[in-house]
Amino acid sequence: MLRDWVVISVACAYLGLLFAIAYYADRRADRGRSLIANPYIYSLSLAVYATAWTFYGSVGRAVSTGIGFLPIYIGPTIMCLLWWILLRKIILISKVHRITSLADFIASRYGKSALVAGLVTVIAVIGILPYISLQLKAISTAFTIVHSHDVEVVGAGHGGPFLSDTALYAALILAAFTIMFGTRHLDASERHEGMVAAIAFESLVKLVAFLAVGGFVTWGMFDGFRDVFTRARELPGVQALFVIGGTGDGQTGVLASLYSATFFAMLAIMFLPRQCQVAVVENVDVNHVKTAIWLFPLYMLVINLFVPAIAFGGMVHFAGTPVDPDTYVLTLPLSRGQNGLGLLVFIGGLSAATGMVIVETIALSTMVCNDLAMPLLLRWPALRLNERKNLTGLLLGIRRGAILVMLLLGYLYFRIAGEAYALVSIGLISFAAVAQFAPACLGGLFWKGGTRAGALAGLSAGFLVWLYTLLVPAFAKSGWVPMSIVEAGPFGIEALRPLQLFGLTGLDQITHGMIWSMLANVGAYVAFSLSTTQSAVEHSQATLFVDVFKHSAAGTGSLFWRGGVSVQELRALLSRFLGADKADDVLEGYARDRRLRSAWEVEADANLIQFAETKLAGAIGGASAHAMVASVVKEAPLTMDEVMSILDEASQIMKYSRELEKTSRELTSAYADLSSANEQLKELDRMKDDFVSHVSHELRTPLTSIRSFSEILHDHPQLDAATRTKYLSVVIQEAERLTRLINQVLDLSKIEAGRVDWRIAVVSPREVVEHAVAATSQLFAEKAATLEVDVPEEVPPILADRDRLVQVVINLLSNAAKFCADPGGRVSISLRAEPGVVRVDVRDNGMGIAAKDQELIFEKFRQGGDTLTTKPRGTGLGLPISREIIQHFGGRLWVESEPGRGATFSFVIPLRRQAEVGGGDVPDDRAAALGAPGTEAGATGTEPR
């Protein structure tokens, strides 16, 4: 029997010790020698996860469901393995953005939305209330047992008067204690080193207490594990607890409930407000997570080690008595008169409960203040808060009030609903509530597409289903709402029964609630995210969150300059929320970081605004801070322009890439140009080679015959005169031919090289034709061919080099003479004035030119017909030269022929208008225009010039 005053004074002494530890840790932190900056303290502080539920409830759960207590710890073990990916990212984001609560985190991710922050806060508060009441229930039950030593007490506060209810006093004492702990002063970073140190200490105490009672039961009351389990096995129904599905509920259902508990626990370890607080907000060094990943699960394993032994030991020991299994941890040592151990267990349970309540209510009060109360108060014009000089008092007041109200609400829930449920079930309902944060939070962490509307829809849908499937039945059991809703469905609609929604049966309440709430939550989150678009802020925040590893290297992604504000205005704003001294400190620090001598030199630029906003975010939450800064910065709401400037970086990159593409295209086309030029050069080179070999061949033929006839004449002086004369005439002819050839080669190369001395003058085409006819009349006479000349009286003059033009006509006429039919050769030449041009046609009645040869004959050294079998009848340079000349005059030269029916060589030369007649060269453009149809010749590489 422990006396009341002993229990109460030990409890108070213990709380006093905690406070001393916290005070010491805070002092150390102020001196810059943090007590908690090591991974072991961090891991121990995470063990705030093990609450009174673990301490008392695990044994109760083991008694009713066998291994059913384990998923609550195995789930987090597996989740911890992913912490290096998940938690590290969350911590990094929170540090960069000065995020101080879960609500802040989710709201910041979705465009610093006050609505999201408020919704998260409401869900967290309502969801966690049962959990807080669970702690109160545990404390008050434990106290009742310890002080009455009535091991058969089923629960405390059987609806007795409030004033004699220990739970109420527990709630009030805890509220006072938490307020002293967590809200002594307002810190911009929202960190509580003292609290963390105390929590770590409490984790040690509860572990030691539990191991002590476990050891006592196993070896003090029994003879080791084997004894416990062997004796328990003989009890009726206990064997069923050794296996899964032995209790007759059906294995599938049992497995489903194990899985759902594991799933909720996995999410709870991330999203319970208190876990967020110690794991993220209070994290000193992200590397501590590495140790916590294995050390924290190890802690959970050790604290659970004796749960089966205590559970089955208790069943053996209390067989046949109505002792609540939730109290075995305490009642077993007490039943053996171990009052000291009983007191230690009571302190251990107190540790577990107070640790949870302190951290949870501090985290929640931060949320309520920053994300619910402040946004509302600041938007309430009648309060004129915007004009208040110093709001730190108000902020602290709100937080203290929130802590007190939450503990009282927890107590209220305990009075209303707490009796109906075992500890674990109450806890799982809370787990299910915080699991609703998972889609919005994890989705937002890795998926940029999640939108504010999606987050709001997912959170609301999940929360409403949670309310309906988990909380309403809990209220119904305690008679707060009519039981008929649960049994028959609202308005008698069976499909809407909260425990068998849409006819889903065969599952326990938690699994059923999990399936429906998660379906609704994830479904609404994804559907609304995909069907709505993000605002500019949302988009920018989404990118900053998802790509935090990229962005943190380049700073905090400073805001875009959006308006005018003075440093004084920002200082005033900071001092309203942080206090004047703190604000000055903060600004001095900012100036020091930028190597300025004092805060007076600070410029009110985008960086300072961003800095002020993050500092404020620490005190009043991201959404409120954003709103407050916006109110003094006089910025316009995000406009299209700003969206554009946010997109500016992207567009710069796109522009750059377009330029690259352009350059690349230019390079490609330059390469194509170069390679075609190269091809042309190769072609020209080949043509030059051809030309040289042709010329040498053509030169050698007459040379050979000159040489052979000369040798004959030289070697045979006795040749008769007639033969000599004949041979000499051959030599002379060949020499003439040689001369002509050489002249023509020189001519052609001069024309092609543009080195001809053109004597351009006004020329009468008629006179040219007549001259040529006269010059070639001898040729026709020799061949006995007739030449018909058709020249009109009046032909307009043209601009040309007379001699060259005569050369062309003579060339065409002599060709005609050579190739006309023999005998019976008939050649006609006609001159016509056509619109804009003068046209000359030379027609013969020879064998004609095959279509394939018609362009060929204009190439150098090419002649119509088969040059291998027929003796060449010309140098093969006449036509190329003629074409070059005509093209130089801006005209063109071509042939029309059908094999066997003669050929007609024609050329046209443009007329000069009267005004131009009498001066200058033929303009090139004119030449090019007129020469265009005949550029086949030009295509050989010789420009008509």
């Binding site: 066998g66 597996i78 992913l82 590290r88 990094l92 540090k95 970073s189 992200v286 990943i293 290297a553």
Partner: protein
Amino acid sequence: MKRTHVRNERLVALALFGLLLFNYPLLQMFNAPTLVLGIPKLYLYLFVAWAVVISGAALILQVSGADDGTLRGGQGGARRPPPPR
């Protein structure tokens, strides 16, 4: 940050292995009401498997050891940003 990358993969693999250990087919193998070493078979298995997973995590994290140079928190916020991965 290649080391972190490898470590992440190992941890994810371990998590998958853990899910396997605590899941239906393997659980069923040990789902018998017999005592092994005086402890119910299923309980012994679960605690041993749990310990194996934890040791695996400790091994992965402590062997690959040293500080990654990721940022430290505290009052100053981000002091040393991590190198981009």
